[in-house]
């Protein structure tokens, strides 16, 4: 049988290209009503009164009073209300739904509703939150003896970096439909995590699991933006369906989606570095602050990944790593491809670049002095078990990009930058163990159906998971079936997040397929299920934050070459080179898609994606003002994979979805530094920022 990595046509391509696929907005349920959300116009206030006009027949108001269970959305910190209850904590917070058969009338009703607020003092900046000690969560851990190492240090250097918001701009905005029938509710919608939605709805209704069903509809992109957010709106439509007795559709317009859904956490990362007499780093103190916005949600886990990634690919003997999620009266931050790692990798890579420049070293050589090797200890005292192929990765990327020569010959307004990075595969810490993902394969005649809650959201899951099962069973891929998950049919394999789908869920499917293959002749209908167990070597202490934060790591190196317009300071990217170790690719073309999409999204984050908040309100609220890159913005990306099979991954696969995102921003920013000989301390690197930096 042929090598698994060889690309095949994505199984969902044809229908998507032809426009045959029906997304949630295309599906009309009989008797369906529309809903529109009335939102807070204030960053922090008590609601004094809500004046509702007389409603025409068939129109309803749905608010906190209609929630039979708990008015809190189950996430990790369960603090976001489905509907505001007496107070609001950010502009855009949902207060109520207006539901009815005609959008025109709903619109008129919304415009007539009057809310009287009593404004309270909002916290609008991270600095203000820090001053007032408003945090959701704080962590700290150490390695070695940082205090002593600072005492012994010859020199101490400090540095600080900032990153901004990023909005997902998935092609399809958020949308759900809730239906209530025969004492049961069903939610249809775009989502990454059907069982998260189910759990949240069960709590909101106070119902048990056999009365709540969740069906994922074909999802037009997510990038983390459909990890926790759909739980909020699913709860809202279900309550509306319960009240009206009709299916209720809630779909966001783009501007609304930009304004009120979660975004990547803005960050401030602070570093203190101790150097010995030879200019060697002996100790690092890292403080990572994330802007969580008004509610905690998943932010604590995002912070964990940021902290466990804080030292990047480097082995530093003495460490103090701490961080906090700050509470501000702004739109809640949440999951986004990379999940805290991009902020941490940007900081550490720029710090290493600054140190190399200060010490007069070629950044690549300086970085390699500290690069992790197999059997090294991680910042949390875990062990790097897989073979570290960084030297091979670097050799490849150097050759492709001609980094060394270009770095030596760099001149004013033209520069080259490089980033080294890794990504922890799967859930952080105890995550995989507590989720205990389950998959089932069901043989029916000659066909085998994959039953998993992992969703296709454009990343290729439906193709890669089928490929794994088809190969492990030695049956044609056309005999492997996979439908959008429906919680009445599929077990909880965990959410479609954390680059875990291929390595964890695919691994389970691989072992289920191998068992099914053994038992193939037992009958026409056979079911095989597998439940995830951590490999025995993994040890993790959730209280002390000690041990293996991740079961395995994927690695990468990016080189970016830029030219800066000497008049306008616009950045032109001349070349992008990228090499990764993701174990083994299940499909090389899908991986190429992940690489090109991830890098482009990362370069957008680093350059043009500006989102500011002023007085608690986002300044860039439309696709006119908040722009993401197009295919015209960057040149062709040249990429390669270094093969490095992982023993516990299916066919040796590790993680790949987030990795290509995390290295792009520091490669670009260090290239700009190289071109202009000024330190860059924040992204996005806009022409406006460069004007500021270059004018001193």
């Amino acid at each position: 049988m042929k090598e698994i990595s060889k690309p095949i046509r994505k199984v969902d391509d044809q229908d998507k290209i032809e426009g045959k696929v029906r997304y949630i907005a295309d599906i009309e349920f009989e008797g369906m009503l529309f809903a529109k959300t009335l939102r807070s116009g204030r960053p922090r206030a008590r609601i004094r009164s809500i004046e509702i006009p007389e409603l025409p027949d068939g129109y309803f108001i749905v608010d906190a009073n209609d929630i039979p269970g708990k008015n809190r959305v189950k996430m990790v910190i369960n603090d976001h209300p489905f509907f505001a209850e007496g107070e609001v904590n950010y502009i855009g917070e949902p207060i109520l739904l207006v539901v009815g058969p005609k959008k025109e009338t709903i619109f008129e009703i919304i415009e007539k509703i009057k809310i009287r607020y009593e404004d309270l003092n909002p916290i609008l900046t991270m600095e203000d939150a820090e001053r007032k000690g408003k945090t959701f969560i704080d962590y700290e851990f150490t390695k070695g003896d940082p205090d002593k190492a600072f005492e012994m240090a010859e020199k101490v250097i400090e540095d600080e970096f900032r990153t901004g918001y990023q909005e997902h701009i998935y092609l399809e905005p958020q949308g759900v439909v809730g239906i209530c029938e025969d004492g049961k509710v069903t939610i249809y919608g775009a989502m990454q995590c059907p069982y998260y939605v189910k759990g949240a709805v069960m709590e909101g209704l106070g119902w048990d699991e056999d009365r709540v069903r969740v069906v994922q509809t074909t999802t037009g992109g997510a990038f983390g933006g459909k990890e926790e957010y759909p739980s909020i709106i699913a709860g809202q439509v279900v309550v509306a369906a319960l009240k009206t007795g009709r299916p209720v559709q809630l779909i966001f317009d783009r501007d609304e989606d930009i304004m009120v859904t979660t975004k990547r956490h803005p960050s401030v990362t602070e570093y203190r570095v101790g150097l010995d007499g030879n200019g060697r780093i002996t100790v690092l103190d890292i403080n990572i602050k994330l802007d969580g916005g008004a509610y905690g949600g998943l932010s604590g886990v995002v912070l964990q990944r940021a902290l466990f990634t804080a030292t990047g690919v480097y082995n530093i003997p003495n460490l103090r790593v701490r961080g906090s999620v700050l509470k501000t009266n702004k739109v809640p931050s949440g999951a986004f491809r990379g999940f805290g790692a991009p902020q941490a990798i940007f900081g550490i890579e720029m710090l290493m670049h600054h140190l190399a420049e200060k010490l007069g070293r070629v950044p690549l050589d300086f970085k390699m002095d500290y690069a992790l090797k197999t059997k090294d200890t991680t910042s949390t005292g875990g062990i790097i078990r897989g073979e570290v192929k960084l030297p091979e990765i670097i050799k490849e990327v150097e050759k492709m990009s001609d980094y060394r020569r270009k770095h030596k010959e760099s001149r004013k307004f033209r520069g080259i930058g490089l980033s080294l990075f890794l990504h922890g595969c799967g859930f952080t810490g105890k995550g995989e163990e507590s989720i205990k993902g389950k998959v089932t394969l069901r043989k029916k005649g000659k066909d085998v159906e994959i039953l998993t809650s992992s969703v296709e959201m454009g990343q290729g899951a439906t193709t890669t998971l089928r490929k794994i099962v088809s190969k492990s069973l030695s049956i044609p891929i056309t005999q492997v079936l996979y439908d959008n998950p429906d919680t009445e049919r599929v077990p909880d394999s965990g959410p479609t997040v954390a680059s875990r789908t291929v390595m964890i869920v695919g691994g389970l499917l691989d072992s289920a397929a191998k068992e099914l293959r053994e038992r193939w002749d037992e009958g026409d209908e056979i079911e095989v299920s597998k439940i995830y167990k951590h490999p025995g070597y993994i040890k993790w202490d959730d209280k002390l934050l000690k041990g293996d934060a991740y079961p395995e790591y994927s690695w990468g190196a990016n080189v970016v070459e830029v030219e800066i317009d000497p008049i306008t300071y616009e950045i032109e990217v001349l070349g992008i080179w990228a090499v990764y170790d993701i174990g083994v690719a299940i499909d090389e073309r899908i991986i190429q898609g992940q690489i090109e999409g991830g890098i482009t999204q990362g370069l957008g984050y680093a350059t043009i994606e500006v989102m500011d908040s002023v007085d608690g309100e986002l300044v860039q609220r439309t696709l006119t003002d908040y722009k993401i890159p197009t295919s015209m913005d960057f040149p062709k990306i040249e990429s390669k994979l270094v093969r490095n099979p992982y023993k516990y991954g299916p066919y040796g696969a590790k993680c790949a979805g987030e990795l290509p995102f995390v290295g792009a921003a520091p490669a670009l920013a260090s290239a700009v530094e190289n071109a202009l000989s000024v330190p860059i301390n924040r992204i996005p690197v806009t022409p406006e920022y460069l004007l500021e930096v270059l004018s001193g």
Binding site: A25, F34, K36, K103, E104, F107, I251, D253, I567, T568, Y569, E570, I608, V610, V619, Q620, R621, T624, D625, K627, P629, T630, M632, D633, P687, E688, L691
Partner: protein
Amino acid sequence: MVKAFRPVNLDEALNIRKENRVIPIAGGTDLMVQKRRWAGLTPSFEYPLLFIGHIEELRGIRIQDDRLRIGSASSFNELLENTLTPSVLKDAISGMASYPIRNMATIGGNICNASPAGDTLPVLYSLDAVLILSSLKGERRIPIEEFIKGPGITNLKDDEILKGIEIPQYDFDLYFYKKVGIGKVTSLSKISFLGLANITDDRIKDIKVSFGAVAPSVVRSREIESRIKELDREEIVKEFNNIKEMYSELIAPIDDARSTAHYRKVISLRLLEAFLTKEVQ
């Protein structure tokens, strides 16, 4: 519901315009966005719409009396594809929006929308474009800089329709156009700059300089231009600080979602400097 008129010709359109308070709409690429409400609902307009994009008399690009005559309902892609369109105008248009939007968007719409960031405007100012406004009373001609009064504000009378644009045929030795937007394509201008010049025997014989997106409407000063005319290359370098000072007083940008006033001011003056002290040299 939106009430709308779809006249068969200009005469009927002008009659409707006279009898009713209406909003003329051609491609709709600005209006439909400005007035949008909720997906599935029609945009809300204060007055009935008057569709004019299809009217024959408003279309076509041709030379007439030694002038280029562009019908107001010519789409951007029609202009891009026409050999008569000046290359300076093509350069500005090709940096605007995306292909499908350029199929719909019209040059007349870009003028009447009167956005400070309208990208055809600096070109039309620099080319001394004259607008032909039609009403039942007849036609009147007005230079573009007298037509546009401020952001979204024009001299268009309630009974008028912008029929066409007339552009004198110029040849230029030197041409320097720069648009600064967010990203390379489909973006609105943070700044746009257009410099045109004719040079004979090292002396500037004619010069036209326009700035977009850095003031309520396009910045072009015939007064400053006349002071630059007849300078030779050395004198330009010597005089540059005075010239810059004069333009600096006219450039009054704002901070907005796309850029800062500071950046807009500094960079637009730098573009002027690049044009006068490098391109012209």
